[in-house]
Assembly symmetry: D2
Homo-oligomer: 157 residues x 4
C-alpha cells in the first residue's frame, strides 16, 4: 500500500513517538474505519488523510458527501495540531468552517490539515481537500479553517 | 419506529410532494445509510435527522465524531432549504461552520436544520445538534450556520 | 435618549457591577466611538449595540459596510459573554463567522449577542443584526456565530 | 507615499480598467475612509489594504479592534474577487469567517485577500491580516475565508 509507505517514510520527520500517538488515536476512531479513511502522511504540523470514493460515502449525486469530506478534513487538522503538542495532551475540535468549492468527484480525496498557529491552549489549522483522478490530477474541492483546544490526555501516564 | 411516525404526522405540514422529494433524496445518500442516520421530521423550513451513537460513528473517546455530527447537521440544513424550493430545484452546500459545544454523548443525536433565509439563489440555515439521553433529556452539543445554493435539478422534467 | 433608558432599566437585571464593567470597557473601545455605536441593552448573557446608518460607516452602495456590521456584532457577542464572567476576567474573540443576509439599509442597525454556551475557558455566542426602518420595522440583515476565550483581566485587583 | 507607488507599479498587472474600477469603488466606501484604510496593492486575484494603528480603530487594550481588522480583510477579499469579474459585475460578501490569532499590535496592519476559486456566481477568498512593526517584521494576526456572490453592476452601461 503506497500510503503506508508514505507514513513510514515520515517517521524520521514526525518522530516515532508522535507518529505512534497519532496512529494509535486514528485507529481508535470508529468513524474513520467506517468511512474507509487512511492516515497517509504525518509530519510535524501537517497531516494527510485519504478517502477512496465509493457509494457508501457519497450523497445523492454520487459525489463524496460534504459530511465525509469534512470528517476527514477535521481529523487531518486535529492530528496536525496534535503533532505539535506534548505527549500528555490531546486536542478537541472547538469549531471549523469549510467551503465546498467543487463536486468531490475523482477516485479519492486527500484531506490535508496544516497548523497555522499552535498555542498553549488554542491551535488553528488550515484545511484543504483535493480530489484525485485516475492520472493523479489534483483539484481543490474543499477549503476550511479550524480551531482546536488542547486538553490534558485522558490516559496520560 | 417512533421516528417514522413523526415523519408521517408531518405529511400534511410539509406537503406530500415535498416530503417525497426529501425522502427520495435522503434514501439515495449512501453516507446517511452508512452512518445509520434517519430522517425523523420534515416540515417546511425545518428538518430533523437522528443518529444513534454506536462505536462506528465515534472518535477515540467514544463520543460521536465531529465529522458525523456535522454530516447529519449539514444534511438536515440542506433538506430544510429544499423544502422551500420549487420541485425542479436542488440545493448544494456552499459552506458551513459548526461549533462543537460539548461531547456528543447520550444514546442518540438529533440534528435540526432551520431556514433563516430562503432566497432565489442562496439560502442560509441554522444548524443545531442535541444529544439525547436515556430519559430524553436534551443537551445542545453543536451549533452552526450553513450557506446553500439552489441549482436546477438534474432530473427536472 | 431612549437607548440610555433601556440600559438603565436593565441595571437590576445585569447587576450594577457587571453593567459598570461592560460600560467601562465599551467606552474605552475607540472603534465603537469612531463608528458612532451605542451600547443599548445589557442583560446577563445578552447585549445589544445600536449603530445609526450614515455615509461614514457604509460601503459604495450606501448600505452599512459588512465590516461595520460585523464590528458591532462582534462587540455585542463579546460583552454578552463578559456579563457571565467573574469580575476579574476579560474575554477575547477567538473567531467568528457572519452571513450577510440582506443589504443593511434602514435608519439604524441593532446587533444582538446572545450566549449559547458559557464555559470556564471558551464561550460561544449567537450574533444577529437587524436593520430598523423609520417605523421600527425590523429585518434580519446578518447572522453569525462567535467563539470567545476568557483571560485573566489586565487590571484585576 | 510608498503604498501608492505599489499601486501604480501594479497597473500593468491588474490592467488599467480593473484598477480604475477597484479604486473607484474603494473611494466610495465611507467606512474605509473613516478607518483610514488605504488600497496598497491590486493584482489579478489578490488585493492588499493597509491600516495604520491609531486609538480610533482599537479596542479597550489598544490593539486594533477585531471589527476593523475584519473590515479591511473583508474589503481586500471583495476587491480581489472583483479583479477577476467582467466589468459589468459587482461582488457582495455572502459570509466570512475570521480567526484572530494574535493581538493586532504593531504600527499598521496589512490585509490580503486572495481568490481561491472564482466562479460565475460564487467566489471564495482566503483572508490574511499581518501586523507590521517598526522594522517591517510581519506577524500573522488574523486568517479567514470568505464567500462572495457576483451580481450585475448597478451602473452597468
Amino acid at each position: 500500500m503506497p500510503e503506508d509507505t508514505h507514513v513510514e517514510s515520515q517517521d524520521a520527520q514526525a518522530g516515532e513517538e508522535v507518529l505512534a500517538r497519532v496512529r494509535g488515536s486514528f485507529e481508535r476512531q470508529g468513524l474513520m474505519a467506517l468511512l474507509g479513511a487512511e492516515l497517509t502522511h504525518v509530519t510535524p504540523g501537517r497531516v494527510q488523510i485519504t478517502l477512496a470514493r465509493r457509494p457508501e460515502v457519497c450523497q445523492q449525486h454520487g459525489y463524496v458527501h460534504a459530511g465525509a469530506t469534512s470528517a476527514i478534513a477535521d481529523s487531518a487538522g486535529g492530528y496536525a495540531a496534535l503533532t505539535l503538542m506534548p505527549a500528555t495532551s490531546e486536542v478537541l475540535t472547538v469549531e471549523y468552517k469549510v467551503n465546498l468549492l467543487a463536486p468531490a468527484a475523482g477516485d479519492r480525496l486527500e484531506a490535508i490539515g496544516t497548523v497555522l498557529k499552535s498555542g498553549r491552549t488554542l491551535s488553528v489549522c488550515q484545511l484543504e481537500v483535493y480530489a484525485l483522478g485516475e492520472h493523479d490530477e489534483r483539484k481543490l474541492v474543499a477549503a476550511g479553517q479550524q480551531t482546536l483546544i488542547s486538553v490534558p490526555g485522558e490516559t496520560a501516564s
